[in-house]
C-alpha cells in the first residue's frame, strides 16, 4: 500500500494589512509523517499552522486535508486537533472532563467516552488521574493532558504549536522522545512548529525551514544538516564556518575550488543550491575539522593558525582559530575524550579538512 498525502498545500498566502506573513507556501505531507516547521520567531510558521487548523483564513492558494478542500471548513469541523503553546487546559474542569471535552459532542455514551478518556490518559502516562483538578497539574502534566485531549479525538493530523517550549530542559528532552514514540505508535501525522533546531532534528521525519514568510527548504534532518540550500538555512541549523572560494573547474559532480585559507579542494556539488556562479560560498561544520599541534596526516586541505579562544562545554571543547587570509575566526569543536583542553589561547595549531566535509552553498551574494 502506498502512503497517501494527507496534507496538500499549494500557493498559500496570508497577509496582515500590507505585511505578508506567509507567501507561496507549497507543501505535501505523507500520512504518518512527523513534520516540523522550523524558523525564527515571526517567520510565519505559527501562521501557517493556524491556517491548517482553521483559526486563520488564507488569502490565496488551497489547503487540502485528506483530499478535501478546507477553504469553507471552520476549525471545529476539520479533521485536525491542536496542542497549544499555553496548553489551554480548561481551568474549571478536572483532567477527565478536559480530555472528554470534545468527545461529549460526539454522543458516544458514557461507557465509550470513559473508556476512550482512560485509554488516552494511559497513553500519556497519566492513567487514573481523571479526577485531578486542572489547577493542580505541573507543567509536564499539563502538556500531557493537552496531548491526550487532542489525541482522544483521533485526528488525522495533530498540530503542535511550540509544544515543549514551556518546559525545563530535562523534561523537554524526555518529552521529545516520548512524543516521537507516541507518534510512531499511533501513526498519526504530526505537524509541529518550533524555533528549536535540536527539537526539530531529534523528533522529525522531515523539517521545513522558514524565513520571512517563505519556506526555504524541506528535507530530512540529516540532509538539511549536510546539504543546506543557502547560507541562512546553514547558519540556522547547527554551527557553520563560512569560507569564500573561487571555482577553477567543474566536472562529474565535483567543483574544483580555491577555498579561503585551505587552498585547492574538490567539493561535491550540492543539488539543493539554486544560485550558481564562480564566486562560491562554502561551509564547514566545526566538528568536521581536525585540530592538532603537529600537521595531521591524511587530510585534503590544511590551514595553519593560532588559537584565540578555548572553551570547555562538557561533552566537547570549542576552539576559535585565526589564520592569515581568513577574516573571521574559524570555529572547531572536538569531542571531549580525555577531559582535557589540549590547546590553549595563543598556541599555534594545524587544522585539517576532508574534501567531503566542505559544503557547497552556491554563489555568494555580491
Amino acid at each position: 500500500m502506498t502512503r497517501q498525502n494527507i496534507i496538500e498545500i499549494s500557493g498559500v498566502e496570508k497577509r496582515f494589512g500590507s505585511f505578508i506573513a506567509v507567501r507561496d507556501l507549497n507543501l505535501s505531507l505523507k500520512e504518518g509523517e512527523f513534520f516540523s516547521l522550523l524558523g525564527p520567531s515571526g517567520c510565519g510558521k505559527t501562521t501557517a499552522l493556524r491556517m491548517i487548523a482553521g483559526f486563520q483564513d488564507h488569502d490565496a492558494g488551497t489547503i487540502r486535508i485528506d483530499g478535501q478542500d478546507m477553504a469553507q471548513i471552520p476549525a471545529n469541523k476539520r479533521p485536525t486537533n491542536m496542542v497549544f503553546q499555553s496548553y489551554a487546559i480548561f481551568p474549571h474542569l478536572n483532567v477527565g472532563d478536559n480530555v472528554a471535552f470534545g468527545l461529549r459532542k460526539l454522543n458516544l455514551g458514557k461507557a465509550e467516552t470513559d473508556a476512550r478518556v482512560a485509554e488516552a490518559l494511559e497513553m500519556v502516562e497519566l492513567g487514573g488521574l481523571q479526577s485531578r483538578k486542572a489547577t493542580e497539574l505541573s507543567g509536564g502534566q499539563r502538556q500531557r493532558v493537552a496531548l491526550a485531549r487532542a489525541l482522544v479525538m483521533r485526528p488525522k493530523v495533530l498540530l503542535l504549536d511550540e509544544p515543549l517550549s514551556a518546559l525545563d530542559k530535562n523534561l523537554r528532552e524526555a518529552m521529545q522522545f516520548e512524543m516521537r514514540r507516541l507518534q510512531q505508535k499511533l501513526g498519526i501525522t504530526f505537524v509541529m512548529v518550533t524555533h528549536d533546531q535540536y527539537e526539530a532534528m531529534t523528533m522529525s521525519d522531515r523539517i521545513g525551514v522558514m524565513f520571512k514568510g517563505q519556506l526555504k527548504q524541506v528535507d530530512k534532518p540529516e540532509v538539511l544538516y549536510a546539504r543546506p540550500c543557502s547560507r541562512e538555512v546553514a547558519a540556522f541549523i547547527g554551527g557553520m564556518n563560512f569560507l569564500d572560494a573561487s571555482v577553477t573547474a567543474k566536472a562529474e559532480g565535483k567543483l574544483q575550488a580555491q577555498v579561503q585559507g585551505f587552498g585547492p579542494l574538490a567539493i561535491d556539488v550540492n543539488p539543493n543550491v539554486t544560485r550558481r556562479g564562480t564566486k562560491l560560498l562554502t561551509g564547514i561544520r566545526p566538528e568536521q575539522l581536525e585540530i592538532s599541534a603537529k600537521k595531521p596526516e591524511g587530510y585534503d586541505g590544511y590551514l595553519q593558525g593560532t588559537v584565540t579562544n578555548a572553551a570547555f562545554y562538557g561533552e566537547n571543547v570549542h576552539y576559535h582559530v585565526t589564520a592569515a587570509g581568513v577574516p573571521q575566526p574559524i570555529a572547531v569543536s572536538v569531542p571531549n575524550y580525555f577531559h582535557t583542553v589540549d590547546h590553549q589561547q595563543g598556541d599555534p595549531v594545524w587544522l585539517g579538512v576532508q574534501n567531503a566535509s566542505v559544503i557547497d552553498l552556491g554563489a555568494r551574494e555580491a
Partner: protein, 283 residues
C-alpha cells in the same frame, strides 16, 4: 547565623542599633492608632443596630430596655414597603444593565487594542471622581429637557451611570487572565461558537459576573443623591428613610430598617468578594 567571624560584628552593632529600637516598641503606638482608627470608623455604624433594640424613641444613653417592636412594626408600613420594592426594582435592573455593559466593555478593553481605548476607559471610570451632586443636578436638567419625568426609569439611568465603573473593573479582572487559546481549544475540539461561550467562556468568567451583579446592586441600593434628585414621587429606600428622619416618632423604625440594610449590604459584599476571589483563582 552566628559564624565565628560574624559574632564580634554582631556584638559591636548590638548597643547601637538593637536597644533604641526595642525601647521605641515599649509603648505600642501603632496598635493604639489602629484601634482608634477602627473605633472612629465603625462605632457610629454599630450604634445603629444597638439603638434599634432600644425601648424608647430618643436616641441617647442610658438606654431604656430591649425590644423588637420597631422591627415588628416594619411590616405594617405600606409606604416603606413600597419604597423597598422601588429600591429592589432599581437595584436589580441597574445590576443587570451595568453588568451586561461592563461585560462587553471589559472584554473589549482586555482583548483588543484599538484607537481611543484608554480614552474610553477613562470616560467609563469618570463617575468615580465626579461629585454626585453635579451628576444628579445635570441629569435632572437633561432628563427634563428631554421630556423625561423623574421616575424609577430616570433613577435607573442615573444608577447605571455610577455603577458602570464598578462593573467594568470587576469584569476586567475576570477577563485579565483569561487565555484566548482556551476558546480556540474548545472550538478546535469540535464545539460551536455558542457552545464554546457556554461551556468555556461563561463558566470561567461566571464568578466575575456574580460579583459584578452583587456589587452594582449594592451601589444602587445605597445610593441617595441621584435617587433624591431623579425619583420624583417614587422614592427609593434611602430617600424614604431620609424623609422619615424628620419625625422623631418614626426614628426607631428607621434605625431598625437601617440595621437590616446594613446586614444585607455586608452579606452581599462578602458573597461578592468570595466570587471575585474564586474568579481570580480559577483563571
Amino acid at each position: 547565623m552566628n559564624t565565628p567571624t560574624s559574632e564580634p560584628l554582631a556584638k559591636a552593632l548590638t548597643p547601637a542599633i538593637r536597644k533604641p529600637r526595642r525601647r521605641s516598641l515599649r509603648f505600642p503606638w501603632l496598635l493604639v492608632y489602629a484601634i482608634a482608627y477602627l473605633v472612629f470608623l465603625y462605632l457610629p455604624v454599630l450604634l445603629l443596630p444597638l439603638f434599634s433594640f432600644n425601648d424608647g424613641t430618643i436616641v441617647a444613653f442610658p438606654m431604656k430596655g430591649f425590644t423588637l417592636k420597631w422591627y415588628a412594626q416594619l411590616g405594617a408600613q405600606d409606604t416603606l414597603l413600597q419604597a423597598m420594592v422601588n429600591s429592589l426594582i432599581v437595584g436589580s435592573v441597574t445590576a443587570l444593565a451595568a453588568t451586561s455593559l461592563g461585560l462587553f466593555a471589559a472584554r473589549a478593553y482586555v482583548r483588543y487594542r484599538f484607537k481611543g481605548r484608554e480614552l474610553s476607559e477613562g470616560l467609563v471610570m469618570l463617575p468615580l471622581v465626579i461629585p454626585g451632586i453635579i451628576v444628579a443636578s445635570s441629569m435632572l436638567v437633561l432628563f427634563i429637557a428631554l421630556g423625561l419625568k423623574p421616575s424609577l426609569t430616570t433613577v435607573i439611568l442615573g444608577h447605571v451611570f455610577v455603577a458602570l465603573p464598578f462593573a467594568v473593573s470587576i469584569m476586567k479582572s475576570a477577563f485579565d487572565d483569561f487565555d484566548q487559546s482556551l476558546e480556540e481549544a474548545a472550538f478546535d475540539l469540535g464545539e460551536s461558537v455558542i457552545g464554546t461561550f457556554r461551556r468555556v467562556t461563561l463558566p470561567i468568567v461566571a464568578p466575575g459576573i456574580v460579583a459584578s451583579l452583587l456589587v452594582t446592586f449594592t451601589v444602587s441600593f445605597d445610593e441617595f443623591v441621584l435617587a433624591f434628585f431623579l425619583s420624583g414621587n417614587q422614592p427609593t429606600l434611602p430617600v424614604y428613610i431620609w424623609s422619615q428622619i424628620r419625625f422623631p416618632a418614626k426614628l426607631p423604625n428607621t434605625l431598625a430598617l437601617g440595621s437590616l440594610l446594613l446586614l444585607a449590604s455586608v452579606v452581599l459584599l462578602l458573597i461578592a468578594e468570595y466570587f471575585r476571589r474564586r474568579s481570580n483563582k480559577s483563571a
